[in-house]
């Protein structure tokens, strides 16, 4: 018995020694790469999680919309959207209402606000149908109970290109950049016209660029593209353009050549069209 105990004690000591050796090497945990993969078998709770990430990330919604703020706002607050979405248009369910305000934002404008929201399923934000469903799930959860599933369909289903099941981040970075475009082509490609008008002084989400060639020097133009918050035109909120460009992957995609052509094009806009 004494022997057996001694042997067992010895075994424990040797094992502890190797355990100790294991503690002496660098300790590092490796996590699987994060993907916003949207699989058709997600449950609603998972959709809400993904929707939340899209709203603050790729969707760039929060550059304009606020969460739980009141007072004089430029865009509607989303803090309680899940509770009020079904009440804005009589006879329209909250899902249909939210879908409409994403796919066709200017069809209905909440009282007290101005039109100006870009279409979300087209460039530069280009959310696909599945991603938008997740966004709707998240919006429903704000003040309400989410009801959508991946199988939910609405009036606009199929309007956006279908999800390819590829990681959303990879899909965004994978856009090809090699074609030779002129100034207006580049302006269109990066979706600048979603927020800026070039052929009239009309104010949209951002200031009109109708006569920007007269207002700004070339250097200032580079600055306002590369660092939009450095100078803000009076009457517009800071951070919107920076967040939109970042979220859409503009800075990763644009080449210096494209940027030069774009600025040259802007210089040529003198308001005399």
């Amino acid at each position: 018995m004494k022997n057996a105990l001694a042997i067992f004690g010895f075994t424990v000591i040797v094992t502890l020694f190797y355990w100790y050796v294991g503690q002496q090497v660098p300790q590092k945990e490796t996590y699987p790469p994060k993907t916003l993969e949207i699989r058709p078998d997600l449950n609603t709770a998972e959709m809400v999680e993904i929707g939340k990430e899209i709203v603050s990330g790729k969707g760039t919604c929060l550059s304009c919309h606020t969460m739980g703020q009141s007072g004089s706002l430029r865009f509607p607050d989303l803090g309680n959207i899940g509770a009020v979405a079904g009440t804005h248009k009589p006879g329209v369910s909250d899902v249909e209402y939210l879908a409409e305000s994403i796919y066709d934002p200017n069809a209905f404008i909440v009282e007290g606000f101005l039109p100006g929201m870009p279409v979300i399923h087209k460039p530069p934000i280009s959310l696909n149908d599945d991603e938008i469903l997740c966004v709707i799930a998240y919006l429903q959860s704000l003040g309400g109970t989410p009801t959508v599933t991946m199988q939910t369909s609405h009036k606009f289903s199929g309007a956006a290109p279908p999800s390819q099941g590829a990681p959303a981040a990879a899909a965004a970075a994978g856009a090809a950049v090699s074609e030779n475009l002129d100034g207006p082509g580049i302006f269109a490609k990066y979706g600048c016209m979603a927020c800026h008008s070039v052929d009239s002084p009309a104010k949209m989400v951002g200031p009109s660029l109708y006569d920007v060639g007269k207002r700004l020097s070339k250097a200032e133009m580079y600055e306002s593209i590369l660092d939009p918050d450095a100078k803000i035109t009076a009457g517009y909120p800071a951070g919107v353009m920076a967040a939109t460009l970042k979220g859409g992957g503009f800075y990763e995609k644009v080449s210096s050549k494209d940027l030069n052509i774009l600025v040259d094009y802007l210089v040529s806009l003198k308001g005399n069209k």
Partner: protein, 617 residues
């Protein structure tokens, strides 16, 4: 020895102080473990929330379930490893039992036959443990990883029934081999042993197909659909793993059998018993070390196939976080060689005349220490910014060259040669060559060693000046030259000591107890090493169930720290030895006298006596 007692208070003071010295270190590690565990349980609970109600229609959509407290991964990990360890033991023991039986059959030496029988005695209990653990593992996979299990079943469906049927055959042959000892003609009995080994090996090969498929899937199309079952079975790492496991099983089984001998030796009362179990431990250890020697090369082959399958997977194995796992492995293997040599040196004390060779011990030890250091030197060092700056980068100009494969190959080859020399000295212990050319023979042997050692070192250094592909090829001539040295020296030795004069007897049983503890040390180290290498084989897949085909989306998908893995391996090893203690105890029961009413206790063992009579040579 002095009869005076050491005052108790001094002992307790020393104990308390040494505890205090190490407590800070341990506390820090413990803190880390606890934080990890907490993070894990939080992650697990998050995943557990918000699951829909299970109905017959949607029950197949469940991908994971959660095992309480430790999580599914750790639970399956521990059970799989235990199953593997017992299976390795059960597959290995018949292999060397058969070889020992064959030696006994050809030399007509009865004591080999008895030894083979004694090894086999450990089998029947272990076999039941293996089967029960295997069933437990299967159920746990079905319960906790239903999606993965379903996929593997879909791929390998034709292999499961043969596997189970072979298990019946294995059971049949095993019990016939064990209970039929001495009941059949020796030839029939040996045939049974051969059949037992063939069936066991086939079983292992089938199971290996499943798990190597998870690492290096083949025979499927891009979306994971089955193209060919045979293709899935013969994937890249299947054969390397088969060979690697076959050899490793023998080494592991031998070390456990040696530990059994040591356990019986320490408990033995009579001189005969001591002599017998001393010898048994020696044979077990010899088997373990003999099988250990080719193991690194089987390992290289496996690593090479992994590289060939995918460079990414290869670099995950050797270059990423797992590179530190191989430093832990180096410590374990260095210890194995050290302990194996130590055992031989200590056991020379029971050989009269071996005192002559004591003076060589320090040189052998120095060689082992240097090789150990070379092998354990990591490629990228842990250094503070200050230290890295002084080294001019994360590579030390001198140590950097010790960190790569060339140096490690050289070190392991020299380690093998050193161990061989220790054994050679042990063999010669009580003998003196009488042939006329003894002096010449010794010189030739010495020259062979010198030439081979310089050749191996030369190739190791040369490896730095050639491209990777050639460098990998250099390990072949290194191994071949070491093999050549061992074989040629052995042949010379056999002829040189044919009619050697005996200086004195080998006094079996007169071995210090610490040599037996070296055997336990070897067994624990082998087991721990097996647990560690099992972890790297599985962990290599990172966040994949089937690499590149089926992703692990459970909360356990992350790769834990090596410290955490060491903890799991340690626990597994302790559970395994608890089970093994039960096996030892049970197989010891058959040797005891029947219980008799009135005396209330059993008479001391007599089982070993009749076997041990011939234990001395």
């Amino acid at each position: 020895m002095s009869k005076r007692k050491i005052p108790f208070y001094i002992i307790s003071l020393i104990v308390v102080v040494s505890l205090a010295v190490s407590i800070k270190n341990v506390a820090e590690s413990w803190q880390l473990q606890r934080e990890l565990a907490r993070a894990q349980s939080v992650a697990g609970e998050a995943a557990q929330q918000a699951g829909p109600q299970i109905t017959p229609e949607n029950s197949h959509t469940v991908e994971y379930r959660k095992f309480p407290f430790v999580g599914s991964r750790v639970a399956v990990w521990v059970i799989a490893e235990l199953h593997l360890m017992f299976a390795a033991f059960v597959l290995a023991v018949p292999m060397f039992a058969l070889i020992i039986e064959l030696i006994g059959y050809y030399t007509k030496d009865k004591r080999y036959d008895h030894l083979a029988y004694e090894f086999t005695k450990l089998l029947s209990t272990s076999f039941s443990f293996t089967a029960s653990l295997g069933a437990l593992l299967t159920f746990m996979l079905i319960i906790y990883y239903p999606k993965l299990t379903t996929y593997l079943i879909a791929i390998f469906s034709p292999t499961f029934l043969p596997y189970v049927l072979l298990f019946f055959a294995e059971a049949g042959f095993l019990y016939a081999y064990y209970y039929g000892w001495g009941k059949f003609s020796p030839k029939v009995h040996i045939a049974l042993g051969v059949a037992l080994n063939l069936v066991g090996t086939t079983i292992m090969f089938i199971a290996n197909a499943w798990l190597t498929f998870m690492n290096t899937p083949a025979g499927i199309n891009e979306s994971g659909g089955l193209l060919s079952v045979w293709g899935a079975i013969t994937n890249f790492t299947w054969m390397p793993i088969n060979i690697h496991r076959l050899i490793a099983n023998v080494a592991f089984g031998g070390s456990i059998a040696a530990a059994y001998g040591a356990y019986k030796f320490l408990g033995a009362r009579s001189e005969e018993e001591k002599a017998h179990y001393d010898w048994m431990g020696y044979v077990g250890n010899f088997i373990a070390i003999a099988a250990l020697l080719p193991l690194p090369f089987a390992g290289y082959w496996l690593g090479k196939e992994i590289y060939a399958y995918s460079q990414s997977l290869g670099i995950v194995l050797m270059g990423g976080t797992f590179s530190w796992l191989f430093i832990i492995q180096a410590v374990l293997i260095g210890n194995l060689f050290l302990a194996a040599n130590y055992y031989l040196w200590v056991s020379m004390e029971r050989i009269e005349g071996a005192q002559r060779f004591r003076k060589f011990i320090k040189y052998l030890l120095a060689s082992i220490t240097v090789c150990f250091i070379v092998w354990a030197t990591p490629h990228s060092l842990v250094a503070t910014v200050e230290e890295a700056r002084r080294m001019g980068g994360s590579h030390h100009p001198m140590l950097g060259v010790l960190g790569v494969m060339s140096a490690k190959n050289t070190a392991v080859n020299i380690l093998i040669l050193t161990t061989y020399i220790s054994f050679l000295l042990y063999r010669r212990g009580n003998r003196e060559a009488t042939v006329s050319w003894a002096k010449l023979g010794n010189t030739v042997q010495f020259l062979i060693f010198a030439v081979v050692v310089s050749f191996v070192v030369f190739l190791g250094v040369y490896g730095y000046f050639v491209e990777a592909k050639v460098r990998i090829g250099l390990s072949v001539p290194q191994v071949l030259s070491v093999l050549f040295a061992m074989i040629s020296v052995t042949v010379i030795d056999i002829f040189m000591f044919k009619n050697a004069k005996s200086i004195g007897p080998i006094r079996w049983g007169k071995i210090p107890a610490r040599a037996q503890y070296a055997l336990f040390f070897l067994a624990v180290t082998f087991t721990w090493l097996m647990g560690l290498m099992g972890y790297v084989r599985a962990g290599l897949r990172q966040h994949w169930h089937v690499y590149g085909v089926m992703q692990d989306t459970s909360p356990d998908a992350f790769t834990p720290t090596l410290g955490f893995a060491s903890g799991v391996v340690s626990v597994t090893v302790l559970i395994f030895f608890t089970f093994i203690a039960i096996v030892f105890w049970l197989s010891g029961l058959s040797g005891k006298k029947d219980w008799e009413a009135g005396t209330g206790k059993t008479a001391p063992s007599k089982g070993g006596l009749d076997l041990a009579e011939e234990g001395q040579s």
